[in-house]
Symmetry: C2
Subunit: 255 residues, 2 copies
């Protein structure tokens, strides 16, 4: 057990973050949560932040009482027993509908992400009359938080804004990276030799998504843990853009 503390990667949920309010200082919240957990952020750490807390501080709550549903939203919501105002918000957040069935809407958001209900979320939102949208520009949100952490605490950390997405072929949701700053979201091993000297041709690994998934394990879905620290993963430094992980549909053989 002697080696376990000094090597490997650590995934640490930062406890004690308060419920976020519009305008709150996300960097200050993260530093406070780290302090409450007995952790000091260090250079080369990755801070993984749940999309919801980012959306809340950025004021992305929509009051459903202000929403006038369109005809299609009304019809679809009535057919499946949904709130037509919420369906309307999902349609407004969508650039393209991939599928509408069984009350769900799978769509491509204005950012380019393909996910359920355009990322519009009614859980973990205060008050039954609001829904929460994705951040307008998750990469910009991540870059801002990264800059604020450098300014406030003098540390050079990468930031990932994560959300849980469903996927085809497999059950269950997994966390992926929406916004990235300070690290390359894809690790490209193409052209490098494998253990037997053969050149690898298809080894581009979505490491930011893997870090987001790893971080989910330290949150629990029930208790409030919007910040997770990932320490010891030797990521490639780069400006980084989560949006660069979005696949051009023309090249998507899996869809």
């Amino acid at each position: 057990m002697s080696g376990a503390e000094s090597q490997g990667i650590q995934i640490i949920g930062l406890r004690g973050a308060p419920e976020a309010q519009p305008g709150d200082d996300l960097a200050r919240m993260a530093l406070d949560a780290a302090a409450a957990t007995g952790i000091t952020l260090e250079d080369s750490d990755i801070l993984v932040v749940a999309q919801k807390v980012v959306s809340k501080v950025e004021g992305m709550l929509v009051d459903l009482r202000t929403i006038e549903p369109s005809d299609i939203a009304l019809r679809y919501a009535q057919q499946w027993g949904r709130d037509p105002r919420q369906t309307e918000v999902v349609l407004r957040e969508s650039a393209r509908i991939v599928r509408m069935d069984r009350g769900l809407i799978i769509s491509q958001t204005r950012h380019g992400f393909v996910c359920a209900n355009a990322g519009v979320d009614a859980s973990n939102v205060p008050g039954g009359e609001s829904v929460l949208l994705l951040p307008r520009d998750p990469d910009a949100s991540a870059a801002r938080l990264r800059a604020d952490l450098r300014r406030l605490a003098g540390v050079d950390v990468a930031v990932i804004i994560s959300d849980s997405f469903g996927r085809p072929w497999r059950l269950g949701i997994v966390n992926v990276a929406l916004g990235v700053a300070g690290m390359a979201p894809l690790a490209d091993y193409r052209g490098q030799p494998d253990d037997f000297g053969r050149v690898m041709t298809s080894s581009v690994i979505a490491v930011a998504d893997e870090v987001a998934s790893a971080a989910e394990l330290a949150t629990g879905k029930i208790s409030r843990t919007p910040f997770v620290l990932v320490r010891g993963y030797p990521y490639q430094r780069a400006e980084g853009k989560g949006s660069s992980v979005i696949m051009d549909p023309a090249f998507d053989l899996f869809k």
Copy 2:
């Protein structure tokens, strides 16, 4: 920094595993790799094992010189500059072709996994004339390794056999769980209240896939690290079946 050692989840690549040969004792290899890393396996650890090393000890290498390509394999391989014998093996390992384009084959394997080239792999395989198939029954392989570790070392660990899969909508591959033993691969939070007392309706999290992705971060694609230890993740104990994560196509809104 005081809290960092004593809390959170640790992801530790076990170094020093030799090249696997058919018939090798996988549990013994894992224990030796742990010892070489200065780690002793403990109850409640998760051991994540790369599919390739499992396939190798189970003798899933196919000598391409024994393969007679079918007409479709010959035509498709010639069109895209591929080895027709390898294409033939991919077709034989497929229960259903999802897509054939640009030299790639996306198919559903006999196990039910949807992935590129039916999981047939030519990289990190000794000799240019062989390819490696997926284990015949990854859940059985995981259960066997778990039982062997209990017998050899007296520890109760969960086992995940992982492989890297592409996915729709997003670039890059991520590691997922093919075989699982000793833990529930899905964490089901449906029906539990969120922070605001509202019941969550769609929170089934594919935790075994997230653990597999987390483990990938500690391997690196270049150096040989087939075993990764995940310590400190409070998984739900269960027999566990990686195959239970395969989605019934009839219910797959994402595909």
